[in-house]
Symmetry: C2
Subunit: 144 residues, 2 copies
Amino acid sequence: MFSKACEYGIKATIFIATKSFEGQRVSPKEIAKEIDSPQAFTAKILQALVRHKVINSIKGAYGGFEINKKDIKAIKLSQIVNAIDGDSIYSGCGLGLHACDENHPCPVHDKFKIVRDELKDMLENTNLEELALNIKSGMAFLKV
Amino acid sequence: MFSKACEYGIKATIFIATKSFEGQRVSPKEIAKEIDSPQAFTAKILQALVRHKVINSIKGAYGGFEINKKDIKAIKLSQIVNAIDGDSIYSGCGLGLHACDENHPCPVHDKFKIVRDELKDMLENTNLEELALNIKSGMAFLKV
DNA sequence: ATCAATTAAGATGAATTTATCCTATTTAAA
DNA sequence: TTTAAATAGGATAAATTCATCTTAATTGAT
């Protein structure tokens, strides 16, 4: 469904959010350990998330990654996915047709549209705060 | 969503079905042309579909690929996808957790489950006949 | 100013997916 | 039984994704 990079990116962002609630910054090393991902690769993904302004990075001593507390609620899952995988997951044709719309549909166009729209809706209506709170409360997990 | 191989496989199977309605066999060359895919790669995918008994191959002169007319209605989209991509698309964890279930969920488990189940349902309740008829009637297209 | 702790970025490598090519095998027809 | 027309399958290559390594740039504290 999502690329590995995107999976790591989502998990990393959620972890950063849980730490940012407490005013703490985190390093790629700490993130990779917490989400069970390759550290250097994770660092690359964090760079992309910074470029897309999903997270902030503070360079130098006492630096790390963080998210403004007041932004956590406003960040949608769709923004994270978009920053890494783009929007092809819910905008492209299910069978890869270059042009696929109501006027020139692929054979599964209508059936896919329902699933795709539900996915898009879910991504756009899920915010980072609720995901992070699930982790903080121990109701959900980032690894194993 | 699906791999390229799976997209080609779905389109190829639909095309074979439209021809099988008329009792005609088709070659990888004809298929690749019709669905706008690389021919040799498509041939590999057809082999996999034959091994999974989604389509039949007749070797030798006057051979080609075909589907028994009476089977077309019973073949589900899920069988084609499964033959090529497996079931990870609707069985694996959305965030790639090795173990992810109600007792040890990832942060998006519940939200993903809804989308995943809808996708699974759609694939299992869409049969090859309806897809092929959409092509035959000119209501849907396999390329461009 | 210097130093140590950090993230950024470029180069490189490994693994997987996508794609091609060549040869073997099978089969119906002549 | 030979031949031509097919699919099957193995080897290889190209492209993309996943991952690592090394060095540069930045910054707070001393």
